[in-house]
């Protein structure tokens, strides 16, 4: 395992709570190893990351809300001290069992979308997936501390000269375009829900951010959100990434289209992930995998070939809806709904129904952007829009209109 002692990005600019400094200027908190650090604030989280980069302490970093009391006890039983770090002040509960630290080991928690979060072993090296020289960028990091996506942006800035970082705390998220514009952010990575919320709330403010790189990941990416971002940023590079704690960053698509080319399936290239489909499930063999996850990993994500693309539609256990014996992909129905010009966000689910067993139903947030033509679509208009594009059994019949796009701490909305 490689332990970075002098990361190449230490002189990159880091902006926290409106204050610009460099990684080198961040405080280096004294923390136990092996240690779990629960940091809600962006400044604390970055200081912990810097500490790990410098001396390779065994570390699991997470937002406090990600680790409940039961999990804290489990981690202490596994030899971790548990520290809550608030504004630079640590409060530490010692481990229940003493053990030697594993130098350079970074632990991540899985998103927990299929149950309790699991611990996956990585290192700064295995989390660093961008190694070639990059054009100078100032990145916005909106992710919760310690998530895979957060580490992706943080390792990029720590290891690559010229990759600056502007972090926002959760209470600043709704105003991120103003913060980003004020600090020269020209690259942003966020979930599709993060982007849809921004497009929904204030597209004009978003358009004022001089973005050259937009990245989407963490949820299924549909064509509609890519197209709307392209309208605002016609010259920018718009990329979507498939990444997880288990298999790392495994798919990167820059052509502005949803899904990845069918030709990428089962292509074996040394040093790069191999992508396969088994029974509609995406299976990945990745060099960026977590500890013990070498070889093919069943991702639990459903993927379908649509024309010349492989489209990831959602979680295997929730994407498929059986309507009277006919199988419906919630993700594909969602893509049809979000392609409606009056729809900002949609969630599609199955609901128990007489005669058929289940029916397709949806929740939709209409667009409210100034300049939108006419009134927002009503249920009937959306049903007819879907009926023109989907088989009859796949048309959502009950469509509830919401006013706000729901979002969780992970910046996802469990679509």
């Amino acid at each position: 395992m490689t332990v970075a002692t002098s990361p190449a990005g230490l002189d990159n600019r880091v902006v926290v709570a409106g204050v610009a400094r460099s990684w080198r200027d961040l405080p280096v908190p004294a923390l136990p190893s092996p240690g779990v650090v629960l940091a809600a604030g962006a400044a604390d989280a970055l200081a912990v990351a810097r500490r790990h980069a410098v001396d390779g302490t065994e570390l699991l970093l997470a937002a406090p809300t990600r680790v409940d009391a039961t999990m804290r006890d489990e981690l202490r039983a596994a030899g971790f001290a548990v520290t809550v770090l608030t504004a630079g002040v640590p409060q530490t509960v010692p481990p229940a069992v003493s053990r030697a630290p594993e130098a350079g080991r970074l632990w991540l928690l899985t998103s927990g979308s299929t149950g309790r979060p699991k611990r996956v072993g990585h290192s700064l090296d295995s989390l660093t997936t961008v190694r070639s020289a990059q054009p100078e960028r100032t990145w916005l990091c909106p992710y919760a501390p310690g998530s895979y996506a957060w580490w992706q942006v943080v390792t990029l800035s720590l290891t690559q000269p010229g990759q600056h970082l502007v972090v926002v705390d959760p209470d600043e998220l709704d105003d991120w375009p103003a913060i980003a514009a004020a600090h020269g952010v020209d690259a942003v990575s966020g979930t599709p829900t993060f982007w849809r919320r921004t497009l929904h709330r204030d597209p004009q403010a978003l358009a004022r951010v001089p973005l050259r790189q937009l990245t989407l990941g963490g949820e299924p990416v549909d064509q509609a959100v890519l197209d709307r971002l392209r309208e605002l940023f016609p010259a920018a590079r718009i990329s979507w990434i498939y990444a997880s704690s288990e298999v790392g960053a495994s798919i990167v698509v820059h052509d502005g289209r949803a899904g990845f080319p069918v030709g990428w399936l089962d292509r074996v290239t040394p040093g790069r992930p191999t992508l396969s489909l088994r029974d509609d499930e995406l299976v990945i063999t990745s060099p960026h995998h977590g500890v013990g996850l070498d070889g093919p990993v069943r991702t639990g994500d459903r993927a379908q070939v649509v024309d010349d693309r492989v489209v990831i539609t959602g979680r295997l256990d929730s994407d498929e809806i059986n309507v009277g014996g006919s199988k419906v992909s919630a993700g594909l129905v969602r893509a049809v709904l979000t392609a409606h010009p009056g729809v900002a966000w949609a969630r599609v689910t199955g609901r128990r129904a007489p005669v058929l067993g289940r029916m397709v139903v949806a929740e939709v947030v209409p667009t409210t952007a100034p300049g939108d033509a006419g009134a927002p679509p009503d249920e009937g208009a959306l049903v007819r829009w879907c009926a023109d594009r989907l088989p009859e059994y796949a048309v959502p019949r009950r469509i509830r209109l919401l006013t706000e796009i729901p979002v969780k701490e992970t910046l996802k909305s469990d679509v």
Binding site: V323, G324, R351, A353, P354, V355, L356, M359, V361, E379, G380, V383, R384, A387, E392, Y393, V395, R397, R398
Partner: protein, 83 residues
Amino acid sequence: MNELSRAQIRDLMAQVVRNQGRVLPDDDSTDLREIGFRSLDFSELALRVEDATGEELNFDAPGLRRIATVGDVLDFLAELQRQ
């Protein structure tokens, strides 16, 4: 229990049909095939009744019958609410 009247169920049925770009005829003896009202529409209507009353309909109850006309649908759902 917040039971819907036959007229209220008819309004919901009209909405189901309207969402498909069609019109529900006034005549209760209209054959469902004439207006293209099929099992998907029937299931949707049942969900709308459930949403309006806050009660699940019990389709396991005995007495399921042949449903051929608009009136049959309304009678059946009105009756089902009481089971």
